[in-house]
Symmetry: C2
Amino acid sequence: MIFMTKADKTPWNGCPVRYAAGVFGDKWSFVLLRDVLLHGKRYYGEFLASDEGISTNILASRLAHFVETGMLTRHVDSTARNKVFYRPTDKSRALLPALLGMMVWSTEFDPCSAAPPSFAPAFRSDPKGTIAWYEAEIDKVDKGLPAAEA
Amino acid sequence: MIFMTKADKTPWNGCPVRYAAGVFGDKWSFVLLRDVLLHGKRYYGEFLASDEGISTNILASRLAHFVETGMLTRHVDSTARNKVFYRPTDKSRALLPALLGMMVWSTEFDPCSAAPPSFAPAFRSDPKGTIAWYEAEIDKVDKGLPAAEA
DNA sequence: CAATTCACTTGCAAATAACAAGTGATATAC
DNA sequence: GTATATCACTTGTTATTTGCAAGTGAATTG
């Protein structure tokens, strides 16, 4: 479990910010959420292949943590049983608004931002519509996955 | 600098999620942002006193990182020159929407959440108004601070 | 002017991350 | 049907980061 110190015997005793920090408060969780929610990645091998170069042990531990915390569910690919994929749950999908909000912030303050200039204005003028668009993309990806199997 | 690995020579080359992870993608940054933006804390001693029990070296390094990345400015208290306070900048204040979004998410999914039940509905029905309320609280706190001095 | 407060710094032990090299299960090629 | 390759991890080792305790020097208080 991320986030437990001496002064913090009870895991996070109700503070929402600390709860969030416990679930995804580290850099690799950020990029995994991006890959799942924004880039349509589902397979272990896809996560491993992303530009940041996460190492296999860290990837495995973060995926396990996300499964434990109900952010992802793990499935064996029924058409290729040596492959494994992870699906976002309602809980992780519900982070989309916050994640998009962070991205708007980054595009505003990162001088090197490579986000399309239309993104921040679009989100600001119609946040619900923008979120709905990403939700629909997630649905499309998940429709293309093999039948779920624990 | 947070977030540099072998495969990541150029700091974050444009990805907004990675930029965000580099600036505040660790658990202590989350709670410091909470303390500054939501709890009106400004002084080194106030941050140190928060429930989580951050240690002095980590606090110093995180504050320095926030100053480097333009999230906070450091000031010597002109009425007590052995005390130091940190003010949020426009950049950190601009994170309020994302931070509040995370908190809404936490209150929805943390079974132990101690957030007032009115918070999430209030934010959902009037996000701009809720954000404006927190902005105003920040302004109030900053008005009470001694004259800025580098 | 002695004791205290304050914002850090330093040193060290423990935890975590990064990297490299397996391992066992499944899948593909012949 | 067997050899090879692919896949999702584990394991082991080293490097980096964290956490804790104990300073340190400047400024303040008594």
